[in-house]
Structures are given as C-alpha cells and as structure tokens.
Amino acid sequence: MNALLIAVFLPLAGALVLALVRSLALAGWLNLGFCAGSLAAAVWLALQILRGGDLTGDGFHVDAFNVYLVVLTALVGLTTAIFSRPYMAHVCRDGQVSEGRMRLYHSMFQGFLFTMLLALTTDNLGVLWVAVEGATLATVLLVSLYRTPESVEAAWKYFILCGVGIALALFGTVLVYFAAQHALADVAEGLSWSALYAGADRLHPTVMAIAFVFLLVGYGTKVGLVPLHNWLPDAHSEGPTPMSAVLSGLLLNVALYAVVRFKMLVDGALAATDKAAVAGHLMMGFGLLSFLVAGLFLHRQRDIKRLFSYSSIEHMGLMTFAFGIGGPLATFGGLLHMLVHSLTKSAIFITVGHATHIAGTQTIEHIRGMIRTQPAVGWGLLLGVAAIAGFPPFGVFTSEFLLLSATMQSWPWLTTALLFGLVVAFAGLFRHLHPMVYGKAPEGQQPVAANMLPVMAHLGLVLWLGIAIPVALSRWLDQATFLITGSHLL
C-alpha cells in the first residue's frame, strides 16, 4: 500500500512544490526528481502485485492490468521530463514563454501525472471520472501555453469537446450507479469497481447497455475515436512538444483503460442475455472506423505534429478494435500494443521536438535533410516511424501481427479492412518522412543540443519487445488478459 500511495501522491506533492519554485533550472531538475521517485515506487508496487496478487482497499484497486499501465505512465513521465528540461529551457530562452508560465507548466506536468495515476489505480468509478476530467483541466492551459491565436483556439476546442464528452461519461456512470443500487446488497459500494465486478451478473442488463453507450462516447472522446477526434490533432500540434508526448502516450491509454474496465462490467451483466457481445461490437465498429479514417487523413497533413496525432488516432482505433473483439489473443495483442505504441509515440514526439527546433517550423515542407544536419535526430525519426508503421523487428509489428491473427480467427473478412488500413497508414507516413529525413537541407541549418537518450531507451525497449518478450512480462500481460477475458493465452 505504501508503494501505491507514494507512486500516486508524489506527483501531487510535486505539483504543489513546483508551483512555488521560481528558479527555472531548479524546477526542471525537481520535475525530473519527482518523476524518478514516482517511477521507483511504481516498480516497487508492480513487484508487490506480481508476487502477492491483487491489492484492494481504501478506495484503490490494483491488479495486473492496471499496474502495468502505472509503470508505463511513470516511465514515460520520467523520460519526457528528461527531455522537457533542456527543451523547455530552450523555448524559454527563445522568449516564447515567460517564467511565470514555466512555473505553471512544471506544476501542471506533475498535476497531469497525478490525475493519470489516480485514474488508473482508483477503485471508485466516480473518482475515475473526476481524475480523467482533472487531466483535461490540468492540460488545457498547457495547450495554450504559447498564447498564439492558434493555440488558444486549440485549447478552447479541447476544453469544450472533452468537457462535453466527459459529461456524457458521467451520465453513464450515474446509470451504472443506478443499476448497482438495484443489484448490490451494500448500496454504498455502488461505485466500487471490484464490488460491481463481483456482482456483475446481477446488474440490470438493459440499464448497463444504455450506460455503456454513454460511457463509450464519453471516454471515447478522450481516446480520440472518430468522429469525436477533432480536438486531438489541434491539442497535440499547438501545445508544447513534451505535452504532445504525454498526451499521446498516456492520456489516450488511460481513457481506453476506462472503457475496457466498463466493458468488463457490461459483459458480465449481459452474459446471460441474447445480446452478450453488444459492447464488444460497438467498440469494434468505432475502432475500425477510427483506424481507417485516421489512416486516410495521414496523407493530407502538412504539420508534422498533426501527422503523428493522426497516427495516434489510428493506433488507438486499432486497440479499441482489439479489445472489442475480446478473446485472449486479441486482448493480449491489445495490451502489448498499448505498451509499444506509448513507448514509440512518445519517442517520436521527442524527436519531432528536436526536429522542429532545428528547422524552426512545424511545417513538413520546410523540415528537410535531418539526417545530414543532425544524424541522431534524423535516425531517431527514421527508426521511430519505421517502428510505428509496424516494421519488423519492432514491437509494434509483433502486436499488430497478433491482432491480425486474432481477427483472422474470429472475423476473417475484417482482415482485409485491417490490412488495407495498415498499408494506407504506412504510405501516409513514409511519403512525408522520406524528404524530411533525406531531402536537401536548407542553407545554414544548424544542429541543436539534443538529448536523444529517452528516444534511444524507448526504441531500444520496443526493439527488445519485438525480438523477444521477456518471460516475466509475457506472464504479466497474460495475467492481465486472464483478468479481462477470463482465460489464459499462454
């Protein structure tokens, strides 16, 4: 329990402390320190869970499913903090951001991590909602950190769309609570996920089905599912790059995590009716639509950060589709894909941050010849995109291969759609990538001080996961698969 409390509440302490620290250099290091502390506690917590089984009590519920996301969140938080320290100092020197706003940035960075970890570990579905909404509130001012008209517009859109979406999710949560009051003996436990899961077969199926529609639309807005995805490219492209990395790598995962948790409840409630798989079918539909539409949109992008935001929508769609199929193989693939996508995408955003500093713009047309100007950044971009496009031997290939096999097993005719989407997305990424990496560098383009350590660490991990998943990790993911689907894969 101690490890859990440290992991979750250290970032909250960080948010409060960093709001008071005036020195920019110190704030950067403190930010890093808090993230490192939180990661250490998260790893400790994971070891406890893997040895001793689930941890439930005091309003928290930690099992193999969410503890792996906790470690992932803390890890990406730390590497992004390592990247953010020199990057934001550079931005601040350029005069784009005042010192007061840097304080806001560091404080809210920690605040965002706190809401993410709280959403993952809480047992109370109401607190889950509060935390996800809190994540919007923490990041909305960071999206408009540069105060350009574009960034204010992006932040407004983000605020309104996610606010509306999440409001619908609250309506769904109220309906779940309503169903619980007629099913559970102890009404006070009506929002506790573990109590609801234990009594899921007694929940009223119709109420739960209606609730799931609201929950899917609500949390789906945050996942970035088409047609509710409009805020995502704007918020990612206009905010500071470290924010894009954590939004894409963490926030989307946590929203999808919420959807999957609710799907487990709804599946339990609907198991005995003739519409047992309705939740899964809804998720498959939304997921496949997002996957295909975002893949096509990749071709139309001119802004490098928007390009990779659409790639995030595409991958989130694929994961939603995977969890929708259900079954151990698809779920295992989905869990693995969450992991490798987060690592790869945050590595890409970090590289993109350096590339935009070199080129001085986010417009793809003007980012040229990265590999000549600064080989580390060029190679980072090339390998990152190769990994995210699903090239072997990277981990994304493994998880996409698992997903394709699972689709072929249960919905053979959908495999064509998946393959088509993968090819379209692949082409969309590489037609933009090639000139950016190999094109002719403009006169006088200078390298910048870039810290590629986080990128190398992430891509190294993804490569490792692609070549050989460690036994401990595959057991771990298998345990999570068992929790979600009720049967083991391995």
């Binding site: 309003g59 109370n124 109401g126 607190v127 909602w129 509060v130 909404e133 809190g134 509130l137 909305v140 001012l141 408009s144 105060r147 350009t148 008209p149 574009e150 204010v152 517009e153 992006a154 932040a155 407004w156 859109k157 605020f159 309104i160 606010g163 509306v164 409001a167 619908l168 609250l170 309506f171 109220v174 309906l175 609570y177 309503f178 009051q181 007629h182 006070a188 009506g190 929002l191 009223h204 119709t206 109420v207 209606i210 490219p233 704007d234 492209s237 206009e238 139309r300 992008q301 001119r302 802004d303 928007r306």
Partner: protein, 226 residues
C-alpha cells in the same frame, strides 16, 4: 403513471425537476447574454431546492450537495460570469437565435428522444425515477444543443454548465446522490472549469478581439486547403 400515488414530497421533486427542464428551454431561446446568465442562476437555485427536498425525504447527506449546488451553481459561477461580461463590456450584447422555431422544435424532439431512450428502464419499479432520468437526460442534451447553436463563448459556457446541472439532477433524483467523495470531486472540477473558462474568455478576446467562437477557425482552415 399516476401522480396521486406519490407522496407530496416526491411530487414536489418532480415539479422542480420539470422546472429545471423548462429553464433549459428558456436558456435555449434567450438572446440577451445577461438574461441568459440569470436563467442559469435560477436553474441552479431550483436544482438546489430539488436536492434539498430529496435530502429531506430521507437522504440527509444530500443537504451538503444542496448547499454546494446553491453556492456554486446559483451564486458563485453566475457571479463570475456576470463580472467577466461586465469586464469585457458585453452587457448589451444581443445574439439573436438563428432559426428559433427550428431550434426549439429540436429541443422538443430531444425531450421525446430522452423519454424513448429511458423507456427500457421503466420496468425497474420506481416511476418517478424513470421520469426524472429522462428529464435530466433532456437537460443534458439541450445543454449540448445550446452549445451547438450558439457562437458566443459565454453562451457556450452556459450550455456546458447547464449540462452539468442535468447530470447532477440525474444523480440526485435517480440514485439519491453519488457518494460524497465523488460529489466533492465533481464540484471541484466544475469550479476549476469555471475559473479556466474565465481565463479563456480573456485569451480569446485578446487573440480575435471578440468572443465569437465561429471566428476561431484557423486550425480548421489549415486542414481544409491541403
């Protein structure tokens, strides 16, 4: 449904819930900014009264949420909006509704739709519950409609906050309120959101020199002309 079978208290809650929906329609049709804020404040007050009545009917922990609602939704947030409107000199701003007949018809359609959605829940004994659930869903959807049909940032925020009112009504009437920790969390989120909206009015006003959010279109334009 027979209203006479309900106790007096339940009937009163019912009437207040209907009044909340009525005020949503008033907000939908209101062209003047300040009047819209006042209607919103009244909706908060009616909601607090409904919560208080449910609390008196045997759920004493709801007195806290009733007090919170009254303080936040009926007093603090309207006061903040009022102050911002005066600061941005928008007191006399009138934003006539485009196609009023159509929009109000759509509002009525949403009410019918809400009843239709909630019909399957009718088999669960409580009659009041079902009706109040559909009323609150209608309030949520009309809040959404306000946000879609209006272009003024302040009106959009009013729509957003009235959606929250609808959610709160659902929680109070259908389930006798959420657990206290959740209610406090939601209230905190709403308060922070209200403050942030205020900050955004100033930023938007600074960047496009008006609060007409239709003019926030640089990013959409960026995608269209590719």
């Amino acid at each position: 449904m027979n209203l006479m079978q309900l106790t007096l208290l339940e009937q009163a809650v019912f009437v207040l819930a209907a009044l909340v929906l009525f005020l949503s329609f008033a907000m939908l049709a209101q062209a003047r900014l300040l009047a819209g804020i006042h209607v919103f404040a009244w909706q908060g007050a009616v909601l607090a009264a409904a919560t208080g009545l449910v609390a008196a009917g045997g759920a004493p922990h709801l007195f806290i949420s009733a007090a919170l609602t009254l303080a936040l939704k009926a007093l603090l947030i309207p006061w903040m909006l009022h102050r911002l409107v005066r600061r941005l000199e928008l007191e006399r701003h009138v934003e006539p509704l485009q196609h009023p007949a159509l929009v109000l018809m759509a509002g009525a359609g949403l009410v019918i739709f809400s009843y239709w959605v909630v019909v399957p829940i009718e088999r669960l004994e409580l009659v009041t519950t079902r009706n109040i659930l559909s009323l609150s869903l209608a309030v949520v959807l009309i809040g959404l409609l306000i946000m879609v049909t209006r272009r003024q940032a302040v009106t959009q925020v009013i729509g957003f906050m009235s959606m929250e009112n609808g959610l709160f009504l659902a929680a109070v009437a259908a389930t006798h309120g959420m657990p206290l920790v959740v209610e406090l969390g939601v209230a905190f989120d709403v308060l922070v959101a209200a403050v942030l909206f205020g900050v955004f009015f100033l930023h938007i006003n600074e960047s496009i020199e008006s609060l007409d959010v239709d003019r926030l279109n640089r990013l959409s334009a960026r995608e269209d002309d590719t």
